[in-house]
Symmetry: C3
Subunit: 161 residues, 3 copies
């Protein structure tokens, strides 16, 4: 079946979608490590949520921004930290996508950097007029808990609506 402008456009768009999602995830760490609450929150869509492992309930965009100003995060930043996100496996289906990967928070101890948090991450994303945004990010510490492991099971399809 010969390619047409239309079929090539679809293939290019599929690559662009993955590239944009990859870049979004790569921006999280630098925004968090500079304490840019508004910048972090803007990765999420307006009613998006973040379920942070070991921190109770899912939180919305305002609370995500506030998290960056919170005592725990500010202490991490003054100690010296790096929120390093791994390459993610990405599945796009139309205007929805799922990405699975790891995050590792390194903290300077004064001698070396310790891996203070190593988590599984599942990102549910949706395409909006402003590009891809996070609908829901779930994060759980990989300390042997089955909940955390479950986040890494590849989805058959992106999140249903």
């Amino acid at each position: 079946m010969p390619e047409t402008l239309e079929s090539l456009t679809l293939r290019i768009r599929a690559l662009e979608d993955r590239e944009e999602i990859r870049d979004l995830i790569a921006r999280y760490g630098p925004l968090a490590d500079t304490g840019d609450g508004a910048g972090v929150a803007a990765l999420w869509q307006e009613d998006g949520v973040y379920a942070v492992g070991g921190m109770g309930e899912s939180i919305g965009r305002d609370a995500i921004a506030a998290l960056m100003q919170g005592a725990v995060h500010q202490k991490l930043m003054s100690d010296g930290c790096a929120h390093v996100l791994s390459p993610a496996s990405i599945r796009v289906d139309g205007d929805l996508a799922i990405a699975c990967g790891y995050s590792c928070v390194f903290r300077w101890t004064g001698e070396v950097w310790e891996a203070a948090r190593v988590s599984a991450n599942r990102w549910e994303l949706a395409r909006s007029a402003d590009g891809w945004q996070v609908v829901r990010r779930e994060n759980a510490l990989l300390n042997g808990s089955e909940t955390a492991q479950a986040l890494l099971i590849p989805p058959v399809a992106p999140h249903p609506r």
Copy 2:
């Protein structure tokens, strides 16, 4: 030289190849950390092999699947672990490819995560009817051994047949 549908198709396919190989490597960790032996093995082609650093001989697909059920891996999983694979440098030549990168196995100690294994990885891949699959993955601990370092030397060309 003006582009044609044919020349653009080749450029898109080159990007898709790299994207597919990147996603394959990103799927390894989540499959390993959920103990999905069949899923891990399916990344390899039927007669593919895995030469795991510090574990003797190269092993085939059945043994790769069995590794995930083995005592060492199951202990890692119950302790809490993350098999984090770094971005890889990828070289594609027709239906063959080589990717070089790092893997880091973090293990929860009860206090922090320690980097229990940091390895060099060389992936030899081939395109099949089912997409890209692993022909051979070689992995060696970066503990000063020259064998491990050698895995990181960029190949002039993908693996010969």
Copy 3:
């Protein structure tokens, strides 16, 4: 607005640019960990510079190559090390680009790998006849210093000329 061969070519080239920059960054670690000074230096353009955190002045291509033969780096290599570079956020503007990400140097202690250096990295790149090359890489230890954090602030535009 219907796509044309010309508009699709631009979109493909944008993807290829990012892919090439990503691969360049992914090649740094393997070149450093095999002590390939010439190979590392060739990632930079002829008058490119590297401002290494905690090592004083910016250095040029010859000094970058020499760094790999220096006592500190050779000791790291004989101990066992991995220069792992994270996924980077990339912004391309014409023939210039900026990439922000992390680097983590793991060192074998005889028992585990310790994260001996965790740094913020800002890469300024330019397109040349030979493809993308590094104009300036700045690297700073994430030990709480605001200088290091500042490297992670996303640029509004790539570096001016």
